[in-house]
């Protein structure tokens, strides 16, 4: 009979790494999403081109390949990252590219009438974006941001390929040591699901907060 408590502890350590990756990756993704999403609607062509290149590149290539580049190829350019740093960077840049399109779509969805009111009230572009457009666009972004965060959570499993001891990596270790497949994989299945559930609920709470007062405005 195997003593499972030690092995479960191992998986929970992995869960902590997965959690870290998800939180830090999401933070980077949000930053990239706003930078590139707003860059896409900039009036400067160079900024638009830069943002578009970033988005198309990271959406158009595989997260595996991106991760390998960040971890194995960047050192040749003199940049050596820890597995965790590499994981956060690859995940954040990848999901940020998807998020950028969400930001752009939501900003575009705030109609011409609001923009014209801002011009008539003599706001600068920056003031209009910050005080009028973004506060209205944010509630539109949140549901898709929630999706992206869950995608990122599930994407963290790929970092086991660069020897980062995340939840999936630890489950494989446990499987190799105990010869039992069902229990470790059942445990991480439940843990992934619970984390995704937590993200869903968190996003719904956030949505309720930012749409407060807007009830009945949006159809």
């Amino acid at each position: 009979m195997t003593d499972w408590s030690g092995y479960i502890g191992l998986i929970l350590q992995g869960a902590l790494v997965t959690l870290q990756l998800t939180v830090m990756g999401s933070a980077l993704a949000v930053v990239m999403a706003f930078l590139a999403g707003l860059g896409r609607v900039s009036r400067f062509m160079a900024v638009r081109a830069l943002a578009t290149t970033y988005i198309e590149f990271f959406r158009g290539t595989s997260i595996f390949v991106q991760l390998f580049w960040v971890y194995f190829v960047l050192p040749f350019a003199g940049v050596t990252l820890s597995p965790l740093q590499a994981g956060v960077l690859a995940l954040g840049l990848n999901v940020g590219a998807y998020g950028a399109e969400v930001v752009r779509g939501a900003v575009k969805a705030i109609g011409r009438e609001q923009r014209e009111a801002c011009i008539a009230l003599n706001l600068t572009r920056g003031q209009a974006m910050r005080h009028v457009i973004l506060p209205q666009a944010l509630p539109l972004m949140l549901p898709t941001f929630g999706n992206n965060a869950i995608e990122l959570l599930k994407g963290t499993a790929v970092v086991s390929l660069i020897s980062l001891t995340d939840m999936t990596f630890q489950a494989q270790v446990v499987r190799a040591q105990t010869g039992n497949t069902l229990i470790p994989f059942a445990v991480i299945l439940v843990l992934y699901f619970l984390m995704a559930l937590a993200i869903s609920h968190g996003m719904r709470w956030l949505e309720r907060r930012v749409t407060r007062g807007l009830d009945g405005v949006r159809t």
Binding site: E113, Q114, L121, H131
Partner: protein, 261 residues
């Protein structure tokens, strides 16, 4: 006679192959109340939008208080205006829109105080004091904390008027401000505008289909058709005794449709 506050000199406006304004020139005197009437597509709304810098012109010049609106002097000539120049010129002009365009995520009070605080650096307490005076003037002081979604169309439009007034513009543009309202709500907005006309010396340009109101409100009526001024004059001249056949036909149709003149 005072110098015109607005000089429109031979402007054209084209959208691709479509010419909306074709060599239009007109002057507006300080304090004048001007009503622009005419069939839809005649270019009257486009003029207001051009004056608010929401649409660029394709040719010609506009002067507001002696300064070029779309151009600025440089090296003895005129060059297209930059953002800074446009911001400076926009300080003189305010606009009220057909669909109110209130900020739905801000309460009534914040809608009114936002622009003065951001564009003129007015302190919050002072901006709120002034906003409450304006809301009182439009009869909505009790709605200061309401969200726009909780207001009727007429109330929204009165808030929009207060919001535009908060920047103390010298020129106010009213673009079909009652067209989106239920008929029973039109009068409350018109009353605010009457009050405004009586109590201030603001220059007001009004695009409207309310002929009765245009008649009572305006010092001068401009009748537009196909991007040109077909006829202009005092309200009585235009409405009682129009000279151009095009004006007569338009007014007959409007009266037949049940509008009071």
């Amino acid at each position: 006679m005072a110098a015109p506050i607005i000089r429109i000199d031979n402007i054209t406006k084209r959208y691709g192959a479509l010419t909306v304004l074709d060599g239009l020139s007109m002057d507006v005197l300080p304090g004048e109340k001007l009503a622009l009437i005419g069939p839809s597509g005649s270019g009257k709304t486009t003029i207001l939008r051009i004056l608010m810098t929401l649409e660029a012109i394709s040719g010609g010049h506009i002067e507001v208080e002696g300064d070029q609106l779309y151009h600025m002097p440089k090296d003895g000539g005129l060059v297209p205006a930059d953002d800074r120049h446009l911001h400076r010129m926009r300080e003189k002009i305010g606009m009220v829109f057909q669909h109110f365009n209130l900020f739905p995520h801000k309460c009534v009070l914040d809608n009114v105080t936002l622009a003065p605080m951001l564009t003129k650096g007015v302190a919050k307490a002072e901006a709120q004091k002034r906003a409450m005076e304006l809301l009182d003037m439009v009869g909505l002081a009790d709605k200061a904390k309401s969200m726009p979604a909780q207001l009727s169309g007429g109330q929204k439009q009165r808030v929009a008027i207060a919001r535009a007034l908060a920047l103390s513009p010298k020129i106010m543009l009213f673009d079909e401000v009652t067209s989106a309202l239920d008929p029973e709500l039109v009068e409350e907005v018109l009353n605010v505008m009457r009050k405004l006309a009586a109590e201030t010396d603001m220059t007001m340009l009004l695009v409207t289909h309310e002929m009765g109101f245009a008649h009572d409100f305006a010092d001068r009526i401009l009748f537009f058709d196909r991007g040109r001024i077909v006829e202009e004059g005092k309200p009585d001249e235009i409405f009682r005794n129009p000279k151009q056949e095009r004006t007569q036909t338009f007014l007959r149709k409007i009266i037949a449709a049940g509008h009071r003149v």
